[in-house]
């Protein structure tokens, strides 16, 4: 199991390899990537220049371990890898990578989606966004939308 906060680029191949074994017929991987256009607080999109991620590292890793444990309890899945990057990220770079392997694909999809939803809602990780809109620039802490 990989549970990692890192300032290095996320290697999805490594995450997938970690959850691959003879019993797992389905592997689902998720990458959360910095995109150029993001919604501003009033809903209209603004251009993003870069993001700066910071984490309460020990607590975030503990939360990620708890997510892995919940997934084991819910789906009996133990093949899971979660890596979150911190520091300066440019457009197109992955901030988070998750891979889940399971005997059958339905559980792998469900568990992977559960992992990213729960991580985004609970892990003590923050991002500051450098943006421009209508010739105005700024830097703002961006919070995740609450799940619907």
């Amino acid at each position: 199991m990989i549970i990692r906060i890192t300032d290095q680029p996320i290697d999805v191949q490594e995450l997938i390899a970690e959850v691959s074994n003879e019993s797992n017929g389905g592997i689902v991987a998720f990458l959360g990537v910095v995109r150029r256009w993001n919604d501003s607080p009033n809903g209209s999109p603004r251009e993003v220049y870069w993001l700066e991620y910071e984490a309460y590292r020990e607590a975030a890793e503990e939360i990620m371990r708890e997510i892995a444990q919940q997934i084991e309890e819910k789906w009996a899945i133990t093949s899971i890898a979660i890596a979150h990057r911190i520091g300066h990220l440019e457009i197109g770079e992955a901030a988070v990578g998750i891979a889940v392997g399971a005997p059958h694909r339905v559980e792998a999809f469900d568990a992977c989606e559960y992992a990213i939803d729960t991580l985004k809602a609970t892990a003590p990780i923050w991002k500051k966004e450098a943006w421009e809109r209508d010739h105005q620039t700024g830097q703002s802490w961006v919070e995740n939308k609450a799940p619907l």
Partner: protein
């Protein structure tokens, strides 16, 4: 009684530190500590209302009693992923 405080994101920017030792006044719980911090850093008021608190790396409520040596962290709205 001393506790360790950890600041992140908006808290860190307002306080200007990532980590400090804090000698509690009369406060015995998280709520009292937050009040003491706001007295020293008034700009925390807004973000303090929106933030959660972890004691020793676990989310806790504001009535939680503090013990000497606890690590208290303030968690503004998260943005991971």
């Amino acid at each position: 009684m001393k506790v360790k405080l950890r600041f992140f994101a908006s808290w860190r920017e307002i306080v200007g530190e990532e980590e400090i030792e804090w000698s509690l006044g009369d406060s015995q719980n998280v709520e009292g500590l937050v009040t003491e911090l706001i007295a020293k850093y008034p700009r925390l008021i807004g973000t303090a209302l929106n933030s959660l608190v972890m004691v020793n790396r676990r989310y806790t409520d504001r009535q939680a009693t503090l013990r000497s040596g606890d690590e208290v962290a303030f968690i503004p709205p998260v943005g991971g992923g």
